[in-house]
């Protein structure tokens, strides 16, 4: 059964725009805009792998997966 994902939330007040989550998301869900701000652009592609959440050095990402 495919994992159903509710939401990927980025704490923008904490994010330092290091680009790690954008570079290593295997599904290219996250995109940085011109200023480097990370946006959740393609949420429907998210597999819930938690790569972004676990690699963020600032603990700024939460991936909420529906049970």
């Amino acid at each position: 059964m495919p994992v159903k994902v509710c939401a990927v939330t980025i704490d923008q007040a904490v994010c330092k725009q290091c680009g790690i989550c954008v570079a290593f998301c295997p599904k290219d869900v996250l995109v940085a805009d011109k200023e480097g701000q990370v946006e959740v652009a393609y949420l429907e592609e998210c597999s819930g792998c938690l790569m972004c959440e676990l690699l963020c050095p600032e603990l700024a990402i939460n991936v909420d997966i529906a049970e």
């Binding site: 290091c18 690699l55 050095p57 600032e58």
Partner: protein, 284 residues
């Protein structure tokens, strides 16, 4: 290896970090944040109680780790995190003593302390954030900086050989030795958790990224570049067994390297027996 149950980051932040910890003082993309997060997740996985856990740090960018955590902590002096940790453990063997340090702190200034704590096999968990440089003081080379690297003290390339810290700890008598990398976060959590569970001296070296002081000077200017470098330059213990010494040159072997179960040989256990013996007039 047991699969790590991943707790929500928001819960981890609320339970283990002090309020207003984020954003941290570390540069964007700095791997210290990754190591601390994995350390905290490992503590959570093992289920250590806040009251029974102490974090001891040294100096440098990693020295500030204590500042963010909800544990009793001791910010030691340069290179002396291990002596403080050993003192705490001997005074109260019930404590879980966790010692995150930088590569310079642990292998140069505190190198002597590290090998003797390993030799004594005292039950503390040493975590070395190895980002190949002294970040805090301006990017000098440390004993773990790879040969050839450009640093502020080796502008034409480092001519020194680096320590293999894991081999050093193993040779000195550490009973749990592992190497991880910040890119492999799940494995890092496992390795640290097993180090905490282990009764005896544990050393976990984590290959980490310092984009600002190290990467920038070595054609790896961003955290992303350094993490990609990790992917290309680390090999698992299993794969390493199939590779020749030439193929392994310049590669870092990651995984569990030593795990010797001998709880009665641990230092505080021995010390306990010594006290018993002294009390019974040296007879038992």
């Amino acid at each position: 290896m047991a699969k790590v149950a991943i707790k929500k980051t928001s819960e981890i932040r609320a339970e283990y970090y002090r309020p207003n910890s984020f954003p941290t003082i570390w540069c964007p993309g700095c791997g210290i944040g990754n190591v601390v997060a994995s350390m905290v997740r490992a503590i959570d996985t093992v289920g250590l109680k806040h009251d029974d856990t102490v974090v001891v740090t040294g100096i440098g960018c990693s020295g500030i780790i204590y500042n963010y955590l909800n544990f009793d902590a001791y910010h030691g002096i340069h290179g002396r995190a291990i002596p403080v940790a050993v003192g705490l453990k001997l005074a109260n063997p019930r404590l879980n003593v966790i010692v995150p340090m930088g590569d310079g702190d642990s292998s140069a200034i505190g190198g002597n302390h590290l090998i003797h704590a390993a030799r004594r096999n005292i039950d503390i968990t040493a975590i070395v954030v190895n980002n190949s440089t002294y970040g805090n003081t301006g990017g000098q080379f440390s004993p773990l900086t790879p040969t050839g690297s450009i640093t502020t003290t080796s502008p034409f390339g480092n001519i020194e050989n680096s320590f293999d810290l894991c081999e050093l700890a193993k040779g000195a008598g550490a009973t749990y030795v592992a190497r991880g990398a910040t890119y492999y976060s799940r494995q890092m959590i496992d390795l640290i958790a097993n180090g905490i569970r282990h009764k005896g001296f544990s050393l976990i070296e984590v290959i980490s990224q310092c984009p600002v002081q190290y990467g920038r000077r070595n054609k790896l200017p961003t955290a992303v570049d350094l993490l990609k470098w990790q992917k290309e330059n680390t090999v698992s213990v299993t794969r390493a067994k199939t590779m020749s010494p030439e193929e392994l040159k310049g590669k870092f072997i990651i995984g569990e390297l030593v795990n010797i179960e001998a709880p009665d040989q641990e230092y505080t256990a021995r010390y306990e027996r010594l006290i018993e013996k002294a009390r019974s007039g040296g007879k038992s």
